[in-house]
C-alpha cells in the first residue's frame, strides 16, 4: 500500500504559545505527536524533546540485546515485532531525557509531555502512547479510537466509577495519570494494528477533540482526500469553535495500489519500443 500523510500544528485562539510538537518522518512512515505541559513555556521544550528523541532513536538501527541503553520494562509482549519494541524503547528514552533535563534545570521542574506515535511497516502499525493525545482509525466509514486516554476521568470510566457522560462533565478533565518526564520510568501503552487499504489514521492533541465531535472528524476525513488539507480543515474547525488550546493533527492515508487493466495499459505503453 502507498502511504500519504500531512500534519498541521496551530497555537489556537486563546494561548500565547504552542506547546504541541509533531514530526512526520516519511522514509520511515513514522508519525509522532506530543502535547507539552509545564509553566513558563517549558511545555514546548518537553514536547520538542519528546518528538526529536523518538525520531532519532527510531532512525538508528536498534542496538542488540545487552548493549541496548534502555531495558524494556512494563511487560513487553514477547510476540511484538522488533519495530514495536524499538518504538517502545524510543519512548522510554524520550521519557528519560525529559525527566533528566527537569532534574538538571530547576526551572524545568514539573515539565512533561504526552506522546502518541505510529510507525508503519508494510500493513502493520506499531502504536506507542502516553497521555491524552489520541490516535484514531477511520475504516469503512466508522471512526474508532485506537488509544486509551491516560486521564483520571477515563480511568474512572474504565473502572465503572463514572459513566462517559459524567466523565465529560467532570472538572478533572486535565488530570493525567501518565506523562513523559514525570518519573524516571514510564508505562507506555503499546499496540499493533493490521491496516487495510483505504484506512485513514488520525493523530491529534486534545485541542482537537475538545472542540470538535467525532462524527465531524469522520466527515472531514471522508470529504477531503488530501491529508494535509484534511488536517488543516480540522484545525480550522477547532479554531472556529473557540480554539481554546493548541491543536495538532496528523492525517495518514493508506492508498490502494491502482489495479485493473487501465493501469496495466498505461505501464505497458511506457515500455514499448
Amino acid at each position: 500500500m502507498q502511504i500519504v500523510s500531512g500534519g498541521v500544528s496551530d497555537v489556537g485562539r486563546v494561548r500565547t504559545n504552542n506547546e504541541d510538537s509533531f514530526r512526520i518522518i516519511e522514509p520511515l512512515n513514522l508519525f509522532i505527536l506530543s502535547d507539552g505541559m509545564g509553566g513558563e513555556a517549558h511545555g514546548e521544550v518537553a514536547s520538542a524533546m519528546a518528538v526529536e528523541t523518538v525520531g532519532e532513536y527510531c532512525s538508528q538501527a536498534e542496538p542488540a540485546g545487552e548493549d541496548a541503553g534502555v531495558t524494556v520494562h512494563g511487560g513487553a509482549m514477547d510476540n511484538w515485532s522488533p519495530q514495536t519494541k524499538q518504538l517502545q524503547n524510543a519512548v522510554f528514552q524520550a521519557n528519560f531525557k525529559i525527566h533528566q533535563s527537569a532534574q538538571e534545570h530547576q526551572e524545568q521542574r514539573g515539565m512533561g509531555a504526552t506522546l502518541t506515535a505510529g510507525w508503519i511497516n508494510g500493513n502493520k502499525l506499531s502504536l506507542a502512547h502516553v497521555g491524552d493525545s489520541r490516535a484514531y482509525l477511520l475504516r469503512a466509514g466508522g471512526l474508532q479510537q485506537l488509544t486509551n486516554d491516560h486521564s483520571l476521568v477515563a480511568e474512572q470510566v474504565r473502572r465503572g466509577i463514572l459513566t462517559p457522560q459524567q466523565a465529560e462533565e467532570s472538572e478533572m478533565q486535565s488530570v493525567l495519570l501518565r506523562a513523559l518526564g514525570a518519573n524516571p520510568e514510564v508505562d507506555v501503552e503499546m499496540d499493533e494494528v493490521d491496516l487495510m487499504p483505504r484506512d485513514v489514521l488520525l493523530f491529534c492533541s486534545d485541542g482537537l477533540t475538545r472542540m470538535v465531535t467525532e462524527p465531524e472528524i469522520a466527515g472531514k476525513l471522508q470529504a477531503e482526500p488530501d491529508p494535509g488539507s484534511a488536517a488543516q480543515k480540522l484545525v480550522d474547525l477547532a479554531n472556529e469553535r473557540g480554539g481554546l488550546d493548541n491543536v495538532t493533527v496528523i492525517v495518514v492515508r493508506m492508498q490502494e495500489e491502482s489495479k485493473g487493466w487501465f493501469s496495466w495499459l498505461r505501464r505497458d505503453s511506457g515500455k514499448k519500443d
Partner: protein, 241 residues
C-alpha cells in the same frame, strides 16, 4: 424536503426530490435520474430513506458508485455529500427536518478547565479511592472488562464462536477480518466492533447491522445477550463469567 441535484461539468441537469419511494439512477430512461452515458450501468444505484436516514446503494454497477472520494456499496448520506457516477456528480441536499441523527453535539472530549497536571503514584491512589467512594452508587460493575464471545447462530462464516480479544474486530470478507464472511458479494468490511473504555461498541462498515432487530443509527454499546444481524449472519453477543 430532501433532494438530489444531478450535475454535469458544474451545470445542473436535473433535480429530483426524495420521498417515500427510492430514487433510481442509471442509463435506462425508466430511472428517476436517467444518465445517458456509457460509463453508467443500466440500473446503477439508488437512493432512499431508511427510517430518517438517507442511504445510497450501488446496484452492482460496473464502474462503481462513489460518495465524496470513497467507493461504496451502501452508505449513509449527509447534507452536502456528493455522489459520483461516471463523470456525473449528484449533490445531496438534506434539509434540517430530514437531517441524519448523529450523537448530537457531543464533543469527542470536553473542554479543559485547568492546566494539565500529572498525578504521582500516591496522589493517584488517593484520587482513585476518593473517586471510588463518590461513585459507589454507579450502576456499572467495576473491575476489568471481561472478554466477550460472539456466538454464531446462523450464516456462512469460518468459525462457530469468536472470543473478542482485540481493540478492533472486523466482520467482513477481508483476509484480515476476525469474523470472515463467505460468499461472492460480501463486502471487505461489513461491520466492526470497537473496544472502548466502557464496553464494546458495534459500528457500521459497508453495511448497517441490526441489534435486536433494529438497524443501528451510529456506534451502539453491546450488552450481554444482544443479537447482531448483518449480511445474513446472526450472532449472539455473550459475556461469560
Amino acid at each position: 424536503m430532501a433532494k438530489l441535484s444531478l450535475m454535469f461539468e458544474n451545470k445542473m441537469v436535473k433535480e429530483v426530490p426524495i420521498g417515500g419511494r427510492p430514487v433510481s439512477i442509471g442509463r435506462s430512461p425508466d430511472n428517476d435520474l436517467a444518465i445517458d452515458n456509457l460509463a453508467v450501468s443500466t440500473y446503477h444505484a439508488r437512493v432512499y430513506f431508511e427510517g430518517n436516514r438517507l442511504v445510497v446503494e450501488d446496484l452492482d454497477s460496473l464502474n462503481g458508485t462513489f460518495v465524496n472520494d470513497l467507493r461504496v456499496e451502501r452508505a449513509m448520506l449527509h447534507d452536502g455529500d456528493t455522489i459520483w457516477i461516471g463523470k456525473h456528480s449528484i449533490k445531496v441536499d438534506a434539509t434540517a427536518d430530514t437531517a441524519i441523527p448523529w450523537d448530537t453535539g457531543r464533543k469527542a472530549a470536553a473542554p479543559k478547565i485547568n492546566e494539565t497536571m500529572v498525578l504521582d503514584t500516591k496522589a493517584r491512589r488517593d484520587m482513585l479511592q476518593q473517586a471510588a467512594a463518590m461513585g459507589e452508587r454507579s450502576q456499572f460493575s467495576p473491575g476489568r472488562m471481561k472478554m466477550p464471545t460472539l456466538v454464531v447462530l446462523s450464516g456462512r462464516v469460518d468459525q462457530k464462536e469468536y472470543v473478542l480479544t482485540n481493540k478492533l474486530t472486523v466482520i467482513g470478507k477481508s483476509p484480515m477480518a476476525t469474523i470472515r464472511l463467505r460468499g461472492w458479494f460480501k463486502p471487505q468490511v461489513a461491520a466492526q466492533i470497537n473496544q472502548r473504555d466502557d464496553g464494546y461498541y458495534l459500528g457500521t462498515g459497508a453495511k448497517i447491522p441490526s441489534v435486536n432487530g433494529a438497524p443501528i443509527q451510529g456506534p451502539v454499546r453491546l450488552n450481554d445477550g444482544d443479537l447482531i444481524e448483518v449480511c445474513g449472519i446472526r450472532i449472539n453477543f455473550v459475556v461469560r463469567e
